[in-house]
């Protein structure tokens, strides 16, 4: 090993974290990639966790015990989450989370049907890099489900590559990088590179949201997200302010905030919850134009009307919209952190709810 006399900067961060001088591990890739279909979310009467909460459901139902997303991060109590959503202008739904088959859908059980790569990470997550490969064409959700259904246990699995959707490299490489300036000051860079032979449309939606901690018990305080006018400085409100701001980018973003649906809306749309839950709506999605209204893909499901309430929001999305030229990277940069004095567009107040503090085991 190249043991030098000077410890590396990352070794110093590890030591500072161990000795309690700086909480370098407070933020990390702690967001799951699949919360649906888990035992925790299963409130069915027959214990069928996979079918009680499907990938399809995940668009409009709130999770009880955790969150998921693409290339996401959260704090170590998962109060605040950040992930990237994508849209190629063709899919019926946003690409907010990895798609895959449930245990009964796959001919060899559950299987994720996406291509994504963990390229780099330091142990304190002071630097991380992730790659997601997003096809230009409409994502073949139904084709994958149907083709696997037709195969038995002795056949191979039908994979995303088998659909031909990546032919001629008609896809985007979406790189997501995180770098910490300080334990609670995170720079985020999203770089999109079109690998195909022609320009293609892509929408990038970096999204900040709260795990729902307030719907399950009475008197839980709701957190708040606010869009502050451009150019204003975000005053730190005691220790409870966190901001997401635009750092740099080659495209101009539009900020979209949204609220969440109540369980009443949910029952109106005839999903039968055995437990009070909240549906997450499509309202933050950037499809205001009628020609592009996405609907639930080929399956029975509700299409919830968007409601935008600019006063008190739970979710903030930036909408970067561009035509990506061939092989020239397009980047956008954001900064997520406390104590910011820079130009800020969104601030959120963290709840002082009664969730127990993260525990040390020793």
């Amino acid at each position: 090993m190249n043991q030098t006399s000077e410890p590396s900067a990352e070794h110093i961060r590890l030591q500072d974290d161990r000795e309690g001088r700086a909480a370098w591990k407070k933020w990390g890739p702690y967001l799951s990639e699949r919360q649906w279909g888990t035992v925790r979310e299963d409130y069915s009467s027959n214990g069928d966790a996979w079918n009680y909460f499907s990938h399809d459901n995940a668009q409009y139902r709130a999770y009880r015990w955790g969150e998921d997303g693409l290339a996401g991060i959260s704090d170590n109590r998962q109060l605040l989450c950040f992930a990237v959503a994508l849209w190629n202008g063709r899919d019926p739904i946003l690409k907010e989370r990895l798609f895959g088959l449930s245990n009964s859908e796959g001919n060899h059980g559950e299987d994720v049907k996406e291509y994504y790569f963990y390229l780099d990470s330091t142990p304190t997550h002071s630097y991380m890099k992730y790659l997601y490969k997003y096809p230009h064409a409409e994502y073949p959700y139904v084709q994958i489900i149907e083709a696997n259904k037709a195969r038995d246990k002795h056949a191979e699995e039908y994979e995303l590559l088998d659909t031909g959707i990546f032919d001629e490299d008609r896809y985007f490489d979406v790189f997501v990088e995180y770098a910490k300036v300080e334990p609670e000051d995170v720079l985020i860079q999203i770089t999109v590179r079109n690998r195909g032979p022609e320009p293609a449309e892509i929408h990038v939606l970096p999204t900040l949201w709260f795990r729902n901690t307030w719907s399950w018990r009475q008197k839980e305080e709701k957190p708040e997200l606010k869009v502050l006018a451009a150019g204003t400085t975000c005053e730190p409100l005691a220790r409870s302010i966190v901001s997401l701001e635009n750092d740099f980018s080659t495209a101009t973003p539009q900020s979209i905030c949204c609220s969440l649906k109540t369980k009443r809306t949910l029952s109106e749309h005839s999903i039968s919850p055995t437990h009070s839950r909240i549906a997450r709506t499509a309202s933050f999605r950037p499809w205001s134009t009628e020609t592009r209204t996405p609907s639930t893909p080929n399956r029975a499901g509700p299409k919830l009307p968007p409601t935008i309430d600019s006063q008190c929001q739970r979710r903030d999305g930036r909408w970067f919209d561009c035509d990506s030229p061939t092989n020239r990277p397009t980047s956008c940069g954001l900064r997520l952190g406390r104590h910011s004095t820079r130009r800020s567009r969104t601030a959120c107040r963290k709840p002082t709810h009664s969730m127990r503090r993260s525990r040390q085991t020793r």
Binding site: H11, S32, W65
Partner: protein, 461 residues
Amino acid sequence: MSEADAFYAAITPDTLTRDEANVMRQALAGMLWSKQYFYYDLAEWLREHGDKPEDGVRANVRNKDWFHLYNADVISMPDKWEYPWYAVWDLAFHTVPLSLVDVDFAKDQLQLFLGHHYLHPNGQMPAYEWNFSDVNPPVHPWAVWTVYSYDKQLRGRGDLAFLKFCFEKLSLNFTWWVNRKDVDGNNVFAGGFLGLDNIGVFDRSSTLPTGGNLEQSDGTAWMAFFASVMLQIAVELAMEDDAHYEAMALKYFEHFLWIASAMDNPSHTGIKLWDHYDGIYYDVLRFPDGNGVPLKVRSLVGLLPLAATTVLPANLRERLPRFFDEAQWFLERHPHTAAVLTVPLNVGAGGSRILSLVNPDKLRRILGYMLDETEFLSPYGIRSLSRYHADHPYVFSAGGQEYAVRYVPGDSDTGMFGGNSNWRGPIWMPMQLMLIRALVNQYAHLGNDFTVERLSARAVS
């Protein structure tokens, strides 16, 4: 980026090529990206499912015996899509590579699962959310010892507080195993699927179609392994911390010997787990009438006893004379126990003392299968099931139905345990680690004089 480069440059061995160094870095990136916040408050979850123990109402719902469990922590996941919940033995394996980059995180994870929000009041470790009461192989003590040893090497001084905490909690877990999984009190263990999903003829976690129960070679070997690592930890604590751990060392030494000799004794069925004729271990199916039959499937189940091989310090006699004398006395009183294994009373030609379930004769016979390319040895590692079963499937008839185990190197062709993983051929990486460790430990004792012939597929055909 440059700081990340500097970090990885400092921990990457110089012997690696650029490509290999990149593989190592991205493999570790995969481990680090697989951390996940895992929140599961069982008391609240059960209440939401209609469970009201205070009113005498128990819901018929999954995990209802785990009411004490409160998980709200960042945990290393097997896979954040396919397996976004912890599995306790996977986690133990994760901590070993993670210790290369963040030994504190590795130690925290190991302690977390022994803490009162995880470990059941009865001493059982939670397996995974589908059924916390399922039983995973007890690899936690091995991970504790491995991470402790690495930390000691790294910092020049062992974290005894960590080791003591884990040792005490693991003693509760050991006792849980002894009281729950040794059906007849004869030191032969069951345990069900033990993480090896479809390796057996039957679903090992369900009621057997024949009735009766299974005497499991792997369950028993894992318990011997557990005892041997606890002995190793107790010896370390007795030497480095407090001589009263000598008594615990003796406890685990004796327990190891009881288990080891049970593998070689005819049990109530008159059949041994060690099949002297074939020279490998099998599970024994015990019928309700007390008769039994060995299930002659050549699988990892039969190789696992190799894993229970532990190196003890060469200066054991000088440092812990009381332990040494008591151990010697025990072996004199129970000579049959010492006859079938390797005991640490002697330093071998390799210069080390070891405690091993197998003596050199058994080792040679088991390696005969393990290093035969027509059986277990593939170009990429040791198979989970012998290739012999490609042409010779093992078939067992019961109740007019045939149960077969066939060599299936790819995806699973059964629906057992979700049909998503397959132990009837594929090479399982952590098992390679267990087997390599066993061979290294044997070598430390036996030295260069012990050699075995390796059979190649070509030579056989």
